[in-house]
Amino acid sequence: MSKNLRVKTSKFIDETYRVSFKFNGTKYFGYKGDTLASALLANDIHLVGRSFKYHRPRGIMTSGSEEPNAIVQLHNNSDRTEPNVRATEVEIYEGLEASSQNCWPSVNFDIGGINNLLSPLLPAGFYYKTFMWPASFWEKYEYFIRKSAGLGKSPTTPDPDIYEHEYIHCDVLIVGAGISGIMAAKTAAKNGLKTLLVDEKPNLGGSTVYQNSEHFKINNQNSGSWLEKEINEIKKIDNLDIRIRTSVAAFHGYNFLLARENLTDHLPIEKRKNKTRQKLLKIRAKKVITATGSLERPLIFDNNDRPGILLSSAIKRYADLFGVACGEKNIFLTNNDSAYETAISLIQKGIKVEAIVDNREEIESKLLYEVEKNNIKVFKGFTIVNTNGYKKINKVSLMKLSKDGQKVIGSKINLSCDCLGVSGGWTPAVHLFTQSGGKLKFREEDQVFIPNKYSSEQISIGACNGDLTLEDIIENTPKYLKEFLNVKKTDYDNVEVFSSENKSKRNIWLLPSDKILGKTKSFVDYQNDATAKDIKLALREGFRSIEHVKRYTTTGMGTDQGKLGNMHALGIISETAGTKMGEHGTTTFRPPYTPLTFGTIVGRNVGEYFDVFRRTPMHEWHQKNKAEFENVGQWKRAWYYPKNNENMFEAVQRESKAARESAGILDASTLGKIDIQGTDASEFLNRVYTNAWSKLAVGKCRYGLMLNEDGMVYDDGVTTRLGENHYIMTTTTGGAANVLGKLEDYLQTEWPELDVYLTSVTDHFATISVCGPNSKKIISNVIPDLDLSDENFPHMSFKNTKIGKINCRIMRISFTGEHSYEINIQANYANSVWEKCMEIGKDFNITPYGTETMHLLRAEKGFIIVGQDTDATMTPIDLQMDWIVSKKKYDFIGKRSLYRSDTIKDDRKQLVGLLTDNPNEILEEGAQIVADVNKSPIEMLGHVTSSYYSPNLKKSIALGVVRGGKNMMGKKLIIPMENKTINVTVADPVFLDKENKRLNA
C-alpha cells in the first residue's frame, strides 16, 4: 500500500468528493480538484515516464503546461485515447485511465533503458552521423528509428467528440488570470470595455491566489485573500467574459488570436455525450493585454532529472493548492529567494525541510531569517554536484562553489532526501508576445528577456513583462493599465504592498561539477534528453546559431517546446562562445503554445463537411444509375456507369462505342458559364481570345483559346453570340472561377474604358450533351418544333427554343466529333429534360457516358484538355493549333509572348499523337518518352499526356508532348517502363475522321 502524502485540507480541493482513477492499470484515489499529477504525488508516485532518447526514469517536474516529463497517454486503446497529455494539466474524474509512454514493457522496467548505458555512444547528432552512410541503407535504418521514436500512440478510430469554432470580437483581451490579469480585467471591464479574460487553468488567480503567508501582504491582508475578493468582484461584471481552461495557442498579427477552450475534458466520460469537447476561439481584439506570468527555471547539474526533483514553485503549488507533500524529507537548491518561500509554506504545513543549498554567498533576506529560525540548515555558496536514486532521488551531494562560480572546491557533503526542489529564478513567459511579432530585450541584472517593442495594440504586464516580484506588479501594473486603456484611475492606485522577498540572484547557467563535463548528465532539455555536454559538442563542431544548435541537439524541440531549458541552452552557448547573452537572440517561439488536437483545429468541418462538393442537378439520377464519380475541381462528376459488374475499362469501351454507333448523353453542367454583355463585348473577346470575334454572327458559336500574358494556354471553350452585345462563354470545369477572376481583373485594371459586364451563370444553367449519329432523331423528338436541318441549324450555331413550356438554349457543337447538341436549360428543370432525352432515346440505345468516355472520344479526335495535355508551358503553337491564333489582330492577351526568343524555338515540347507498335499495348499517362535508351544519361524528350484504347479504331491511341515533335512525324520513339520498353510511332494527333464528316452525318 502506498503512502498518503495529503497533508492538509485545502480550500481548493473538495475532500468530500473522492475520485478513483487508474494509472498504469492500478487503481488510486484522489479528490475533486486534483490534477493527475497532484493525485499521483499524494499517492507517493513520482515515476511516471521514461525519457525520449535514454529512457531514463522521469517524474513530475512542474505543476503546469510547461511540464516536460510527466506526459501520459489517456484511455489507451479507446476511441478517446490521447497521447502526450501533461499529467500536470489533467483534472481527474471518475474513471480516468492514464498510462506511461515511451517505455516497454513497463515504466518500472524499460528495455530501452539500455540506451542510458549506451549514452556515451549516443551524442548529439548521433542519428545524423551514423545513419547517413551508406546512403542507400537509410530506408532500412529508418524503419527501426521510427519505431523507437515517437512518444504516445495516436488514436486509430474516429474521434467520437464534437468540436466547434467560435468567433469573438472584443475591446480588450486579457491572456492570463493571475494577479496582474485580474487587475487588468477589472480595470478594463469597469470602464465599459467589452472584455474577455482567459486562463489555461481551471481556477483564477495564478500563483497569488494560494499565497497564504505573512510575508506577502496587500492592504494588510494576505495577498491570496486580497486577490480572492477581487476575483469574486470581477465575476459579477456583465461585460467581462471569463473563460477558464482556455489556453491561447497563437497570437497573430492585427491582434488575431487562437485559443482552445476545454469544455468537457474534466468530466467523466459518460457525462460528455452530446457536448462540445473543445472550442477553438478565434479572437479579434482591439487591444490585447498579455499577463502570462513567468516560468521558474530549473538548474543544470549532474543527474538533475531524477524523479523527485521538482521546481520549487511546483512543490509550493502542490502543498498550498492541493495540500500534497511532494516528499517527506525535502531539500532545496536555489540561487534566489523563491525556494525560501516554498520552504516556509512547507514548514507551515509540518512538512520536513532538511536543508537549503543556496548558490549565493551572502544573503540579506527576511525569508532566509525565517527559515533559519526554524533550525533549517542553509548551505550558502554551495551547489549540488550529483544526485542518487534510480527511480527516485534518495541522496544529494553538495560542494562549495568557488568565488567566480566556475569550480567547486572543498569536500563533498552527502545528504539524504526524497525530494529536491530547484529554483533557478524566473523566466518571463514571452512566447505569445514574440509570436505576435514583438521584439525582446535582454535585462542584464537578472538575465531575462523582456518585451521591448510591440507590433500591435498590446502590452505585457506583470511577470511576463519582467515584474517578477509582488511589489513591482502592484506598483507598475496600474500605471501601465491607465496609459494603455486610456483611463484616469484604477482601483489599485493606492494599494499598499508588503513583501519580504529580496531580488538578489546568483545566475550560473551550468553549475560546476567535480567531474569533467563529459562524465556528467546535466539535462537542459528533459524531454528530448539534450544535455549541457551535447550543446558544448555542437559548439565544438562549429555550430554557432542558436537555431542550428537547437536542431542539432534537439534542445527545445519536444512537445513542451523547451519551456524550461531554452534559456539555459542560450546561456551555455554564450558562455562557451564568449559572447554576450542577448546577442544570439532566442529561438523562434512558434504556435501553438501548448499542443492542439486536430479535432479542435478542424471543428465541425469533418466527414461530409470536410471538403464540401458541388453536384449537378442530375446528380441523383447518376447515383440511381450506379455512376462512379470523380472529383473535378469542387465538382462530383459522373465518371462512368458500370453495368453488370463491368470494370472501368469495359464500361468506357461500351459507352464510347455506343456514342459513335448510335447516341450518347453526357451531363456537362459543370462547364463554367460566363454571361458577357455590353457594347464592347466583342472587342473584349477579341482581346482575351487568340482568334477574332468581331465577325461572329449572332446565333453562331466559336471555339476560343485563352492565353496568359506569357503566351501559355490558360483555358478554352466555346463562346456563343446570343445577341448583338450579348455572349455566353463556356470555360473548363476546373478553370471557371479563375477565368472569371482574370477577366474581371483586366476589365477593372487594364481596360476600365470597356463597357462590359460579366456574370457567372455556371450554377444557373445545366448542360445536357446528346451526341452520335442518332442524336438528331432524338432531339427532333425532344423538341419537335425545332427545324434541325443543316441549313437552319448548322454546326457551330445556336437556337433559343422551348421544350414544352421551358425556355432553353440549344447549341450544335461537338467535343466528340459526332453530330451533337448541347441543351442549356435552367438548372431546376434539367433533370426532367434529361429524363425525357433518356426516354425518347431508348429506341436508339441512348447511353449515358461519363467523363472518362468523354476524354476517350475527344482524344480520338485529337482535341486537347487544358490541364491534361497542357501544363502552363504549352503555347498554341506547341499544341499545333496555329490555326486559332489570329495573325491580323494587333493585340490579345499573350500575343507578344508568342514570338519571344524562347517560345519560337523549334525544340520546344510539342503535342503529337503516339501509336504503339503493338495496337493492344496501352501507354501509361505520364510515362517518359525517349529516342535512345543506350545514351547516358538518357535524354528525356517528353511524356505521354493522354492514353486510351479506342474501341472505334480498335487500337491504342495516345497524345504526348515531345521535344521537337512537330517534325518527327513517323519517327520511332521508345517508352521505357519498369520491366519493358514500348515502341511507338509519332503520328497525327487526330486519329479519327480527319475530314470531320461525322459532324454533319
Binding site: H252, G253, D710, G741, D745, T749, D891, R900
Partner: protein
C-alpha cells in the same frame, strides 16, 4: 491575419481577399513594339521588398473589386488603401 479596409465594403478579414502582386505595373499599350527584353521586364520582373511595398488586392469573396494597398512587408502594417486608377499616396 490582417484586417483590410476595402474601399467599397469597409473593414473585412484578410480571408475574404486575394493578393495580386505588385501594383502600378501597367500593361504596355503596344506590346508588339517592344523588344524581348522590354516585354520580359513587364512580364516577369517584380519587386519583393522588405519594407514599403505597393500591392494589388482583390476583395474576391466580397465585392470582387480590385484596389491598391501600401504595405510594410516587414511588419504587415497597412499604410494606405486606394482605388484602382487613383494616384499612390506620396510617402
Amino acid at each position: 491575419m490582417f484586417i483590410i479596409n476595402c474601399p467599397f465594403c469597409g473593414e473585412r478579414e484578410q480571408s475574404e481577399f486575394k493578393a495580386g502582386g505588385e501594383a502600378h505595373i501597367e500593361r504596355p499599350r503596344q506590346p508588339t513594339e517592344l523588344s524581348d527584353d522590354e516585354w520580359a521586364e513587364y512580364l516577369f520582373m517584380r519587386k519583393n521588398i522588405k519594407g514599403i511595398q505597393f500591392e494589388r488586392w482583390n476583395h474576391i469573396h466580397g465585392c470582387r473589386k480590385w484596389f491598391n494597398m501600401v504595405r510594410d512587408t516587414s511588419n504587415d502594417e497597412i499604410k494606405a488603401i486606394y482605388k484602382m486608377g487613383e494616384k499612390p499616396p506620396v510617402k
